[in-house]
């Protein structure tokens, strides 16, 4: 399968496919995030019956310090469960999660969470929203203001500090949400389809902004998305998940050879091949079918044109 898919610079990260559980704490320390044999089972009530639903099973993942990892997967593959676990909002039934070698037991300010629905506090102004986490840290008011203004500038919203969320567009709200998550300086940024609710143009802009911010802040980013293009454009690696129960099918190294920030990256042949590859993985095409590049997939057609 791998052979068939290797085109040009594309390669499958062999180690990433089935990350081995690390045995020692020392090994864990080299990785920012380590997830070992995670599973999460939910009890769902169907009338009187209790049904068990396995959202995630036998899930292993290692993420390097400062890495940008995109995760794609079919609907209901447990992507959101995965982020909840990483955030510490729910606990795995088996396995452990380590961040910087420390076991995750609950939510904390070393992880920032950015959601699709922004989740800004509507009674707070923009600057007060950004300060929320800093207030929890009991930072002094003057210092809070300084930090909040700094991050407001980072997301390109200087001058909007005294606006209320209802005065902002969707894209601006998401910028504020990102600033809020970054302001308390977490090691890891967890992003759950953050750009899914904004229009296409704003989305592209936000993607480029996010890359710029990531380069500047050196955060580890776990980015969940439905868009394969987005996953490939943003991620250094793209993890493809299988559904019910959710686990990692494959992790692909993305090598775009072009500075991502330029919009040209998306036009390159590499980019489209990468997108195509992820698409195939998601839709369960086997390598042999793939060889001809002649199935009905929209991506397939597009790629043929490009190659031709």
């Amino acid at each position: 399968m791998a052979e068939a898919l290797v085109i040009g610079k594309i390669g499958i990260d062999g180690a990433g496919t089935k990350p081995l559980p690390s045995d020692t704490t020392l090994e864990r320390l080299n990785k920012n995030i380590v997830m070992e044999n995670i599973s999460r089972v939910y009890n769902i009530k169907h009338g009187r019956k209790n049904e068990r639903f396995t959202a995630i099973e036998n899930f292993n993942l290692e993420v390097r310090d400062g890495e940008f990892l995109s995760i794609v997967g079919p609907s209901g593959c447990g992507k959101s469960t995965l982020l909840d676990l990483l955030a510490g909002l729910s606990q795995p039934d088996t396995g452990s999660i380590f961040i910087d070698g420390k076991r995750v037991t609950g939510p904390a300010l070393n992880r920032g969470f950015v959601m699709q629905g922004y989740a800004l506090y509507p009674w707070r102004t923009v600057i007060k929203n950004i300060q929320f986490g800093l207030e929890l840290q009991k930072m002094k008011k003057k210092e809070r203001n300084r930090v909040a203004l700094e991050y407001l500038g980072l997301v390109g919203l200087s001058g909007f500090e005294n606006r209320y969320p209802y005065e902002l567009s969707g894209g601006m709200k998401q910028r504020v949400a990102i600033a809020r998550a970054l302001a308390y300086d977490p090691k890891v940024l967890l992003m759950d389809e953050p750009f899914a609710a904004v229009d296409a143009q704003t989305r592209e802009l936000l993607q480029e902004e996010l890359l710029r911010i990531w380069e500047k802040t050196h955060k580890t980013v776990i980015f969940i998305t439905h868009s394969i293009e987005e996953a490939v454009f943003l991620g250094q690696r793209v993890a493809v998940m299988t559904s019910s129960p959710g686990s990692i099918k494959e992790i692909i190294d993305v090598d775009l050879l072009v500075p991502r920030r330029s919009g040209d990256a998306k036009e390159s042949l590499h980019f489209n091949r990468m997108v195509h590859k992820v698409w195939n993985l998601l839709h369960n095409y086997s390598g042999k079918e793939d060889k001809s590049l002649r199935h009905e997939s929209a991506w397939g057609c597009r790629n043929i044109e490009k190659i031709g």
């Binding site: 609950g106 939510p107 300010l109 959601m115 989740a119 506090y121 009674w123 969320p165 209802y166």
Partner: protein, 254 residues
């Protein structure tokens, strides 16, 4: 300025016409002035009572009784509502009882309150308390239950403690609805008190209106009624102002 005048005109024209109609019905003999005195004779009666201070004594006493019952009710219903809104199980157990209480006419219970608390001040404030409980309790519950789960999730992801979560997220988010409940309770308070004062009191606006009718001092009676209307409108106006101030952000929510 013209816009302000226009808004004043829009808001007052119906009220002015109402009083003009009332006055002319009495003035031109279309209605017996014994049943409906002219607005001016009512105003005169009110003025007389203001000069002697009689009216203010009744107002003060009524406000005191209402205020006491109302404030105690808010102090009980809002915290209770927050608990019931947060602990779903508690609400499931208590809701049926709550529905029975709030659907039982408050005035039907007044004899019970007189029996238990006597004819004095306590029974009046107690019945106001009872009536004020339900609107604010129900609104508080629904306000807390209705807090956007995403806001809670976002705060929890930052490792917030439960008390701080209430202080910084649940309460501000539920406040507009809590305020609406408080305003509804205030309206109920005045209505209940007047009825209670009519049934058993020796002072207060309700008593005054009832007594004026008994001794055929009809202009006095109308003066008392209009006073109550003005008080009710004023209280509501102040609470609406407060509500709008506190919940300015809510008005713009889609």
């Amino acid at each position: 300025m013209t816009a302000k005048l226009k808004s004043l005109y829009t808001k007052s024209i119906a009220v002015v016409l109402f009083f003009v109609l009332w006055d002319s019905l009495a003035r031109f003999g279309l209605v017996d002035t014994f049943l409906l005195p002219t607005v001016t004779s009512m105003a005169e009666a009110a003025w007389e009572m203001m000069k002697t201070g009689e009216l203010f004594i009744h107002i003060a006493l009524s406000l005191k009784r209402t205020g006491l019952g109302f404030l105690v009710a808010i102090c009980v219903s809002v915290p209770l509502g927050i608990l019931m809104g947060w602990f779903q199980k508690l609400e499931e157990y208590l809701d049926p009882l709550l529905q029975i209480f709030r659907n039982t006419s408050v005035l039907a219970l007044f004899p019970v309150f007189i029996l238990v608390f006597g004819l004095g001040e306590v029974s009046k404030s107690a019945i106001v308390f009872w009536g004020c409980m339900w609107p604010s309790l129900l609104n508080t519950i629904s306000g807390v239950k209705g807090v956007d789960p995403l806001l809670i999730k976002s705060a929890r992801s930052m490792g917030i403690s439960v008390p701080i979560l209430f202080q910084k997220v649940i309460l501000p988010a539920a406040l507009p609805e809590i305020m609406t409940g408080i305003r509804l309770s205030a309206g109920v308070a005045v209505i209940i008190l007047v009825a209670a004062e009519m049934l058993g009191a020796t002072r207060g606006l309700g008593y005054f209106i009832f007594y004026a009718q008994q001794k055929y001092a009809i202009p006095d009676m109308y003066a008392g009624i209009v006073t109550i209307s003005i008080l009710g409108v004023l209280i509501n106006f102040l609470l609406v102002k407060l509500e709008n101030h506190i919940a300015a952000w809510k008005r713009y929510q889609v």
